[in-house]
Symmetry: D2
């Protein structure tokens, strides 16, 4: 039995997921495409799935009988309406981040899914599927005692001019926000931001680097350095300190060389290479659950919690050094 | 278009490849199965591919119109006849190692494929598809100057009683024999074996460890330690020394822990875990080529060369310290 | 010419420095000893320096013509008076930490030394002489651009019952406080303390772990984890993030082993082993300067700044999350 | 009590040992110097030990009442006569390598020392005092089971034109020859040399790299790569494979940097930096034993065994691939 997928949004990530479904993964095919730019949808159709149908709107695509499940890869501001439509249609839906552009929007999705009564939505937090984080979680859960602290870093060699201070939260830290909730099986209660002097390579509208301190309900303190003009590479670091010991996220596989008086490994410079393998795994998880009419992995609730936490972190950026409390309603039983 | 695969031999590896084709990889399905034990074939059919047909013999399977390409996963002694039959039928054929149980048998396959005029056979040397070796080859080809030496090790924690000295070549070193030819783009000219004292954990019919020294046509010297009672883990090491520098095969991804006064990573103990990801990649390569009616990756010639080299290494084992020359006919143009 | 040293305080560290002077280092001898417990002084005399004279008081020792330079290794509360006496006598003086038990006391020493007009005092901050920190400083000064952040940790496997929360500053962080000023060539302007939940292994009067955030005059932010019940080992970590790259303090030399399915190095568990080699180097530096009638290395000013910073950190502990400003008078020219 | 040392030969190493004795080590002074070039001796006297006496000949120096113990740092061809004279005078003698330029010469020293009846000679094999090798030996002796194989490398970035093939044994491998006997507590029984193609950077009179295979009396096989035009650095590698696991010589302390898309450590390029700390330790050992009228550490017998083994390795170079047996008389009881 082959799962029939409709892809809304055929930009970079939509095209890449379409390729993945058509050429890499078993038991699935793209039967429908739509994009605000119809030519884009038709180009993907021509290149990757000639048998798919191109729809004028995402809503039409969701409604079509030829679609079992939906991938929302369109512009962020449109995510909420498509996800709500998919829930209304009772169709499993994979939504790229953000689930919605506001916490309120994400909450409306949670409410709709709860009203539906079973999970239909997976959010595209791919790090949970990365082989390194999966191995780290296994060790954190079983070998180092209860976590007490996390030391993390999210570094990018450079960012464009339009990347302003809050984007360090919404576009960058958002991955840590989700993955640490999952890694620690915990929720956040407060955020604080500390700014060192801004680095010389930054620009007027960006304070970079910054250190975000999150505290969890269980009392774990997480310090994450965000440094998006670090120059040397794209580098994701995470070390969990537990009652009995410490575990660290592994470095990506690299060849150790002895060359030019230097013992050396390459460090990646492009974020797209860092978690590239995890996209296959997250979609495999989606396909498996969607074939059974449901969803697994990062949920609407996770998307909502990420939105609430991001908002608190941005508030903390605006009031450097202040402790910003993070509050949210009780977790619906659907997400336990 | 979906490639229809017939699987001959439904033991451990045949079953696993069937699962891979049915559940993991795109554009392919298992349409036919056979096994000397028909119950085994029917069990795999029931579990993994209910629409597939079970054939009484591999020859019938190969001949069937429902089969575009063949996977030979049966007992080693039967490989030659099935591969020859697939070539005779003009169907792409993936053959698990060994290609044949003798160099002469492998040579007959080479001759048949050359007579056919285009490649149809891929041999299951999966290491060429391992992410570590692929990265190593890229560095060896471009960054460390021409290779001069290789230091390698193939270690296994323990082996059963029936594992005798020549199996260290046929079952163990065989992987290094193929992967170093590919890594160095070179051929072997001689072999020598040195035996240290046999370790206490070995048994009467096995001299373990041993060091096999291979020299190549370009003058590179490769020392490979084979130690199959090393106790501590399954460990594959490879370091290439070039004119300008040195490159090493990476360790498998592992979590670094600080625990119990020890900075530590796990080492694998089961060989099946070491190259598990490369099976998906080698079959993907086979599927892509077979869909186009041909074969890529490790060829019949590579299988033949591995057989010739293995024979020389066993001779070298029998005459410790002696230099055994390795000779073979000119490489047919088909394999350039 | 041999430098004649008087050692005040013959407990563990005083005895060890006496051994070092008598048996390891060139150009120096212990000619005088004193201790509040005369039997202790006589025992060290008998064991290590039979030709030395035992004095009833530190003041007598300092005044003696047989003493060119003084080592103050007595109980911390007595340091100030002995150092002041040595300055009054115009004799070079090496003082184990703390220089004084209060910032005011340390300031009195600074004032006395400034009044004297040249340096006479070296404080026993031995980390500045550790081969790892020295190598790190060289890289920080020349290769990674201006520092922006430091991520550090000071971990101890366990502490006794009498170790209470402020001791995490006075006895533990004190080393980081001094060594980071030197490493960064910078001064502190504020401190903040964050407490994760206290670990299960701690006791009622100790909040452990804690994270101390120091900000410097140049805008560098330093996060140091202090965790003195970490169980797994004595572990000092320090990573400096600069404009161009990152440099890390090396791990102590250790043998990498492959054993029991584990790739592993030993981690030290006893703090006394971690910087043991640096004691020889710091005393060599003292001897060289003292032979010329002066002092080098960590100064009275450094001891005073450490005291001021420690006081601020303890205040920050008492008011978790609050930003505590650190202020101090202008640096006297003597210390530039 | 101060040990009075006479230094014969005031070239680079003689001057450096004099500096070490005068300025670094306790309980010792240089009281006498001699050199075939008297101006050299006088220059060292002026710079480092104005109270020392300059002797016209090494023999006069040895005979002087002002000399308790002798350091032989002169040209290799003169070592034998000075060591024999020191033994005749009953004075402890530290001799830089080689102990003698022939195995016969070394044997004459052994015989003289045995006739004397107690140890007087220490040979300057400093690696036995290197912190890395000492730590490795401790692990090899206690944690990895009985050794079975050693994989080693001795690499130099480049060598001058006058460095010809046999010097790879006499000047380079000589260190491994001694240190592995000590590390394994074993003796050699055979040598074999394998030459890969010579690297492009070598010259007409040097076959480089080469692999020397030594087998020991206990059956351990040691493969050492010698590569003196490796370009990338001065690099000493040693991995011991035992019955239970593997232990490796640590890399020298280095700062790990993240810089320019590269995770990197410096590799040394100058051999003089690699074991620099071990010279202090070996002389400390000599001073301690000599003060007691005897010698410790590497013995005349070790120097003789190194000479015998070197000769066998050079013979093995001249007959590539041949197994050259290594024989020697029974070890005198003095050296047990």
């Amino acid at each position: 039995m082959t799962l029939k997928i409709g892809v809304i949004g055929t930009g970079m990530i939509g095209r890449d997921h379409t390729r993945r479904i058509q050429q890499v993964l078993a038991g699935v095919e793209v039967t429908a495409l739509s994009d605000v730019n119809l030519d884009s949808a038709r180009a993907v159709q021509a290149d990757l799935c000639p048998d798919a149908q191109v729809f004028e709107t995402g809503q039409d695509l969701i409604a079509s009988d030829t679609v079992d499940a939906v991938l929302v890869c369109s512009w962020g501001a449109t995510h909420e309406e498509y996800v709500l439509a998919a829930i209304a249609a009772g169709k499993p839906c994979f939504c790229e981040k953000p689930l919605a552009t506001t916490a309120e929007g994400a909450k409306r999705i949670v409410d709709a899914e709860v009203a539906h009564g079973s999970r239909l939505v997976q959010v595209g937090f791919m790090r949970r599927y990365d082989v390194g984080y999966v191995a780290l979680k296994k060790v954190v859960d079983s070998q180092i005692g209860a976590p007490i602290m996390v030391h993390a870093a999210h570094r990018n060699p450079t960012v464009p001019e339009q990347y302003v201070t809050p984007m360090a939260i919404h576009d960058t830290l958002i991955h840590e926000i989700d993955v640490f909730r999952w890694l620690l099986d915990d929720d956040y209660v407060s955020a604080r931001v500390t700014f060192p002097r801004t680095c010389a390579a930054s620009h007027a509208k960006l304070r970079d680097p910054q250190i975000v301190t999150l505290k969890t309900a269980k009392g774990t303190v997480i310090n994450t350095e965000i440094f998006v003009n670090c120059k040397y590479g794209y580098d994701i670091q995470c070390q969990v300190v537990g009652e009995e010991g410490i575990a660290s996220l592994p470095e990506p596989i690299a060849i150790t060389k002895r060359l030019n008086a230097t013992l050396q490994n390459e460090i990646l410079t492009d974020w797209k290479d860092r978690f590239v393998d995890s996209y296959d795994v997250e979609l495999t998880d989606f396909i498996k659950a969607a074939t059974a009419g449901t969803a697994a992995g990062p949920s609407s609730w996770d998307g909502y919690m990420a939105a609430v936490t991001s908002d608190a972190c941005v508030t903390a950026q605006e009031d450097e050094g202040a402790l910003v409390e993070i509050s949210y309603p009780a977790r619906p039983a659907l997400y336990n």
